[in-house]
């Protein structure tokens, strides 16, 4: 029955947020994710809604262990995001944020591909509003590009689903695989939202252009829905192992040279997605558990890092590493919370990243993916380098920036949201057994072995040593106020240029064609005027007698034909 759908509390909350204001709206915003989670808790696992469309059975709500983990995670992320944004008085952002969270919840509980498509597109629309909400020309452009790619991903999904259904499959969203009819299209649709290499431009383009609070929501939902969809539809697809390894490695090079600190975090988001995609590609229960665990941990620590950078942006109005620095003097609490996020993403023992990332790396090693294992180790060292050290260093340490004198801690609601995320990061890291109990598969795995802790500490300490040495010796590339070409260059620069060049090349032909067309049009008009104009033969009124004559002639002709 459709009324049991877990999306209703969030969607109704979004509706009410649009109708209320002030403290009432704040209450609605807080109540929606809490009530949503409670609503979800009392729903029975299994298929709780069925309907039929054009002979296909649709399952708008299917609750199983995999979707349930993501469902709770999204409610938690929405609550943290709402608390972080409580000081705002922006109806558009509030409504969009709750509707966005509702769409994400709807997508993970979608039991068929058509329902998934609807939520997939709703995700695109509602999240784009969070980019537009910054209300600058830059964010408008970035938001439009973002929307175009996201909607494009949905269209691929729809075409893929139609082909998949037309091949005799039912539309239930289970394992699809690349060999299925429409499988590649669905794979690419998921790939765009998962930020596969060369399809990732939208993420690093749009996320840093959203509002300080909007980016926190954005980082939590879209990509995690895509990871869920890949885990559901393409688990064990070996290609994903290699795609994930590339995703884990290539963004860290960009992150080192990127100046905008939220864009650095966007690159590290892709890097972390790479670990999850590798886990899906390996496809064993340990690897899939690792993927889900890492997605959960990642939502919290990436949210925490983005919240701390959002706080810096809120206070200083600046996000470029070249312009920031020295803020530890005025924002010690924000720094401390940022460091918890940095330790978590870097997978320090006792922090959340350690207990989740290690599952994927162990799975890669166990399955004999040696090169991928080395790539993931490289990515682990690299993520500490850019997200663990670079972010806190350039924002809070380094040289004193002009903002130090006027900087202060952000509003208390922002600090509270960051504290909740930080406590959860440490809690997951310290009590992994309780965390693992929430995962979809029962797997016996212990992250805190001597070998593992030592290996990770060695990797991280020597990464820090490398950063220190490179920084002190001047080899480390300085932060520059610049832009780095990435995949979005193709459609922001090359495509418009190509269109312009083709038009320029075709200009003489276009002119000639225009002249010929105009000449023929004039000639045609003259012809029409001659025959149908006021004096034209076709427009003339004829006497009745001539009509009778014509009829007689026709009848006579038919008689002759009949006679012979």
């Amino acid at each position: 029955m459709i009324e049991l759908s877990p999306v209703w509390p969030l969607f109704i909350g979004a509706l009410l947020a649009g109708l209320t204001r002030g403290r009432v709206r704040a209450l609605v915003m807080l109540a929606a994710p809490i009530l949503g989670a409670l609503w979800l808790y009392q729903l029975e696992p299994g298929i709780s809604a069925e309907t039929e469309l054009l002979g296909y059975q649709l399952l708008p709500v299917r609750i199983d262990p995999l979707s349930l983990v993501f469902g709770y995670l999204f409610h938690l992320a929405a609550l943290i995001g709402v608390i972080y944004a409580l000081h705002l008085r922006d109806k558009m952002q509030d409504v969009a944020a709750l509707a966005y969270a509702g769409s994400a919840v709807g997508a993970v509980f979608a039991g068929d591909l058509l329902t998934l498509f609807i939520y997939w597109e709703l995700l695109a629309l509602t999240s784009a509003l969070l980019v537009f909400a910054r209300r600058s020309e830059r964010s408008l452009g970035a938001g439009l590009r973002y929307l175009l790619l996201q909607v494009g991903s949905g269209i691929l999904l729809l075409i893929g689903a139609i082909l998949y259904g037309a091949d005799g499959n039912d539309l239930a969203f289970n394992h699809i695989g690349l060999d299925a009819s429409g499988g590649w299209l669905i794979f690419f649709a998921f790939g765009i939202k998962s930020a596969f290499p060369l399809l990732h431009g939208w993420l690093t383009d749009a996320y840093p252009e959203a509002t300080p609070t909007g980016t926190v929501f954005l980082s939590a939902f879209t990509t995690k829905v895509a990871i869920y969809a890949l885990a559901r539809g393409f688990a064990g697809t070996e290609l994903l192992v290699y795609i994930g390894a590339v995703m884990a490695c290539f963004p860290i090079f960009y992150a080192v040279i990127e100046n905008d600190l939220r864009r650095v975090l966007a690159y590290s988001l892709i890097n972390q997605l790479g670990f999850m995609v590798v886990g899906i590609g390996i496809g064993t229960e340990l690897a899939l558990n690792g993927t889900v665990a890492h997605a959960c941990a990642h939502v919290l620590y990436k949210g925490l890092l983005l919240m701390s950078m959002g706080a810096v942006l809120q206070v200083t109005g600046e996000m470029r590493g070249s312009e920031l620095g020295g803020l530890y003097k005025k924002m010690p609490k924000t720094l401390l919370l940022c460091l918890v996020g940095a330790a978590s993403i870097s997978a320090f023992p006792l922090f959340s990243g350690f207990v989740s990332k290690s599952m994927v790396i162990s799975a890669a090693l166990q399955q004999g993916h040696d090169a991928v294992w080395l790539a993931l180790l490289f990515a682990s060292a690299g993520v500490f380098h850019h997200a663990g050290i670079k972010i806190p260093f350039f924002a809070f340490f380094g040289r004193d920036s002009k903002y130090v004198a006027s900087a202060h801690e952000p509003p208390s609601n922002m600090l509270l949201a960051m504290t909740i995320a930080a406590v959860l990061c440490v809690g997951i890291g310290c009590f992994p057994r309780d965390f693992y109990a929430l995962l979809p598969y029962a797997v016996d795995y212990s992250p805190y072995t001597v070998s593992h802790v030592l290996a990770q500490l060695q990797l991280l300490a020597f990464s820090a040593l490398a950063f220190t040495w490179l920084k002190l010796s001047g080899i480390y590339p300085p932060e520059l106020h610049s832009v780095n070409l990435d995949a979005d260059w193709l459609y922001r620069r090359i495509l418009p240029r190509s269109v312009a060049n083709v038009r320029a090349l075709a200009a003489p032909w276009e002119q000639r064609l225009g002249r010929v067309t105009a000449a023929w049009t004039v000639r045609g008009l003259k012809l029409l005027t001659r025959h149908h104009g006021r004096q034209g033969v076709m427009a003339r009124s004829w006497p009745t007698g001539s009509m009778v004559l014509c009829v007689v002639l026709l009848l006579g002709l038919s008689l002759l034909l009949y006679y012979f």
């Binding site: 520059l480 990435d486 922001r492 312009a500 060049n501």
Partner: protein, 138 residues
């Protein structure tokens, strides 16, 4: 080998536009030096633990003495060196997407936005004023 250069930086704290702020923890160069020494000592200790602790190696390379520390260090150095080369390839002016005519490529039809146009254009250079933390980029 690079110590004198880094040391020189550490001995020359640079504070600008910040007269109203009291001296903080890392304004004192010796604190930064202690931090660096502490990290170095930690690294030596962790490297030494490789010889003491018995590692359960799944992959043969894990058993090689100093594999993880050396891999971590080399990975980060390689990462930065390659990133420097990447920067030469992909870096453009901050307003690259906003004002294509500046690059002399003509016939630009780039449909893009022009926020912050001209803002901080002169800051398109290395921020190398020097501090306790970073060396001068010559």
């Amino acid at each position: 080998m690079n110590k004198p250069r880094g040391q020189n930086q550490l001995d020359n704290p640079h504070q600008r536009g910040n007269q109203g702020v009291k001296k903080a923890l890392f304004d004192n160069p010796s604190n930064v030096r202690w931090l660096v020494r502490g990290l170095t000592a930690l690294c030596v200790l962790l490297f030494g633990l490789d010889a003491v602790l018995d590692r359960h190696a799944v992959h043969p390379w894990e058993g090689v003495f100093g594999f993880y520390p050396l891999y971590g260090f080399c990975a980060c150095v390689l990462l930065v060196l390659l990133a420097r080369e990447l920067r030469k390839l992909v870096q453009r002016d901050a307003d690259y997407y906003q004002d294509p005519h500046r690059h002399g490529e003509g016939k630009a039809t780039c449909v893009d936005q022009g926020a912050d146009k001209g803002a901080d254009r002169d800051s398109n250079r290395a921020e190398d004023q020097g501090s306790n933390w970073e060396a001068r980029d010559d």
